[in-house]
């Protein structure tokens, strides 16, 4: 909420300096510098102004919505924002968002680290480059395509797997499966895992490649096996890299909209079983409720968007801090 107030204190933009004649005189270094500095600072300020406008706009609309809410914003299990006394809460959305993202992380991180290690230390050199390239390309597949694929290819093929999970782990209650369409938080988690896999892989691979060669060679010379080298010199070096990569992946999983909206069967209920269709996420709820929402309903959705926004901000910020702590390594192996 204090974003808006913070932006008000931003310094006013300096007058943009774009005198063509000054730039023409090549000998004078200082005018050129001044123009360049002005340009780059100017665009920084433009960005700041846009962002401040959005943040102010969002906070304003969200505040409008919250003041009229008759339910509890944090605990109500309902989304009746268009009704005349509006009643809505984000409990189900928060649960769904967090749970599906955690499922995605639990699946994606080990696999991504495996692939990253495979590319950096295991694959034959000739294979490693094209594989890394393919993974890069997959990071660019649009989420609508993942959504289409998830809804028409993945979900129909998961019924068998889910019945199996039900027979093996059904007694826990978490993996109980009623035989409905497999459009549950678990399916969303699996799809998100596949979507964030390339990002986590890319970042951790970069970190693994930066692991000091000397350490590895020393370990090898002492007779360590390849796994021991990785466990003792590569993984400790890359731990913070893996964490920040996971955070970046988490950030993407939290905010994913269209892919979740095509795959999930949204209901405003928290179900004990991950395999039961139902639940919802912030972004999905905004996308599917937005069209029919009244003006007030839109404000309510924006309020939920603001919460998502803050969560994503926290996650991204944490990832950044972890990366920043290791800044001394950047540039070393460019």
């Amino acid at each position: 909420m204090d974003i808006a107030t913070q932006t008000e204190t931003a310094p006013p933009p300096p007058p943009p300096a774009t005198t063509e004649q000054q730039r023409a005189s090549r000998g004078a270094t200082r005018p050129g510098d001044r123009i360049f500095l002005g340009l780059s600072r100017g665009s920084g300020i433009v960005l700041l102004v846009i962002m401040a406008a959005i943040a102010a706009f969002l906070t304003y609309r969200a505040a409008l919505a919250l003041s009229d809410n008759t339910g509890n914003f944090l605990t109500t299990f309902e989304w009746d924002a268009n009704a005349i006394p509006p009643k809505f809460g984000i409990a189900v959305l928060a649960f769904g968002t967090v749970v599906s993202s955690i499922i995605a992380l639990v699946i994606a991180v080990p696999v991504a680290v495996g692939i990253a290690l495979f590319i950096s230390h295991y694959a034959p050199r000739k294979l490693a480059v094209p594989i890394a390239y393919v993974i890069d390309l997959l990071a660019a597949v649009p989420s609508i395509v993942y959504g289409l694929w998830g809804a028409l290819v993945v979900a129909p093929n998961l019924t068998g797997f889910y019945s199996w999970l039900d027979t093996v782990l059904g007694w826990t209650g978490i993996f109980e499966y009623q035989g409905g369409a497999p459009r549950s938080l678990m399916t969303v988690g699996i799809l998100l895992a596949i979507m964030i896999l390339p990002i986590i892989t890319n970042v951790s691979r970069e970190v693994f490649l930066q692991a000091p060669k000397m350490h590895e060679e020393a370990a090898l010379a002492l007779g360590a096996t390849r796994w021991e080298v990785i466990r003792m010199s590569v993984l400790p070096f890359g731990r913070s890299g893996i964490i920040s990569a996971s955070m970046l992946g988490l950030g993407r999983a939290l905010g994913e909209t269209i892919a979740v909206a095509t795959v999930l069967s949204p209901t405003f209920l928290i179900s004990a079983s991950l395999l039961d269709p139902g639940g919802g996420t912030f972004a999905q709820n905004i996308a599917s409720k937005f069209n029919e929402a009244s003006e007030y309903g839109r404000d309510a959705l924006i309020a939920s968007g603001l919460v998502l926004f803050l969560i994503t901000l926290l996650v991204n910020g944490a990832a950044r801090m972890i990366i920043a702590r290791r800044k001394e390594y950047s540039g070393a192996n460019a």
Partner: protein, 373 residues
């Protein structure tokens, strides 16, 4: 040197890609329907009056009438070359919102305008207000996917229990009682509802509440109020889920029931009623006009007396200004609305699993369309 040569190659490659894209876009052409398409549903284009219609006609709203609008647009575009009708099936609420903000020429809505919305419309309609014009009727079919069951009869109470999660399997005694001859499996019931707000949900829950008030405790409305069940987005979404999921049941407009078996309703009448266009027309014929002045909002009867009348119906209105429509689209709007309310236009509905509006009401609609300004 080497670097430079490669630069040039990269540039050439880029230029090739760009020119390829340009070539692709330069020779594109609009699908006019004369060459492509199945052409199964022939329409008589000769009677369409284009008058001064031209340019783009942006509209949005109910997804229930999307299939009808598609058919109309096709016929209309063949008669009036150069007019582009862009109907965006965003949902009734979004359609009205967009219309009230002056973004579109007309809106399609499954429920009549609220008094507050009419009040707001006076800003956009200079000197007038927004009015409802009933154009499309239709049965809301209850489709199911139960292997081995080809005919299924349900009454309002059983249906309410199914959608309220009280009846959990298909061999429940209540269903058996209504279908003594059917081989009902013990498959779990998978009831689907719309996840988005929708006029279809509104009409369906109004029926449940009206016909079985004890079994359906929830308030009728555009949002699905009951807990539990599964959901999907849009009529197409729920109908495709019913197709894929054994044990599924859901409600959608008849035009989406392609390849899905539909429930016969046990009403006050002797025989169970099938979800057909004719049976729906019988129910819509009992509707009364409740709108004031030029507004033709209807009050639907969910307990029709006529023999063989199918009670779960839906009427979609086109919402326009009676006076003060946008000058640049007025002629086009009038021409298009004129066509869809004409006899030919209403005939198209029958061919696409929609019900035409009863004669008495549609005559009033035509008069009103002619007087739009």
């Amino acid at each position: 040197m080497k670097l430079q040569r490669m630069n040039r190659r990269a540039l050439a490659l880029g230029a090739l890609a760009v020119s390829g894209a340009l070539a692709l876009t330069a020779c594109g052409s609009d699908e006019t329907g004369s060459t492509g398409g199945s052409g199964g549903k022939q329409t008589n284009a000769a009677n369409i009056k284009c008058d001064d219609a031209k340019g783009q006609l942006a509209a949005s709203g109910s997804s229930a009438q999307k299939n009808a609008i598609d058919a109309w647009t096709k016929a209309y575009a063949q008669a009036c070359q150069g007019v582009q009708v862009q109907y965006n099936p965003t949902g009734s609420g979004a359609g009205i919102t967009a219309f009230l903000q002056g973004q579109t020429a007309f809106a399609g809505s499954d429920s009549a305008l609220e008094p507050a919305e009419i009040e707001k419309s006076k800003k956009i309609c200079k000197g007038g207000q927004a009015i409802d014009l009933p154009m499309v009727g239709g049965p809301i079919a209850v489709g199911y996917n139960v292997p081995g069951v080809d005919n299924l009869v349900l009454d309002a109470k059983t249906m309410a229990d199914i959608f309220n999660d009280k009846i959990k399997t298909w061999d429940d005694p209540a269903i058996k009682k209504l279908n003594p001859d059917a081989k009902l499996p013990n498959t779990k019931v998978q009831a689907f509802h719309r996840s988005d707000e929708s006029g279809t949900t509104d009409n369906f829950t109004k029926y449940l509440k009206g016909a079985a008030p004890d079994a359906w405790p929830h308030e009728p409305g555009k949002t699905w109020e009951a807990k539990g069940g599964q959901s999907a987005n849009g009529s197409a979404g729920v109908s495709s889920q019913v197709k894929q999921t054994p044990g599924a049941i859901s409600y959608f407009e008849l035009s989406y029931a392609d390849g899905i078996k539909t429930v016969d309703l046990k009403t006050e009448a002797k025989e169970p009623v099938k979800a057909t266009v004719d049976n729906a027309s019988k129910a819509i014929a009992e509707a009364k006009v409740t709108g004031k002045g030029k507004d033709l909002a209807l009050d639907l009867n969910y307990k029709p007396q006529a023999e063989g009348a199918y009670p779960i119906t839906l009427v979609t209105y086109e919402v326009v200004c009676d006076k003060g429509n946008k000058a640049e689209t007025l002629a086009t709007t009038k021409s298009f609305l004129n066509y869809i309310s004409s006899e030919d236009g209403q005939q198209v509905l029958k061919d696409n699993d929609y019900a035409p509006i009863p004669d008495e009401i549609i005559t009033k609609v035509r008069e009103t369309v002619a007087g739009l300004s």
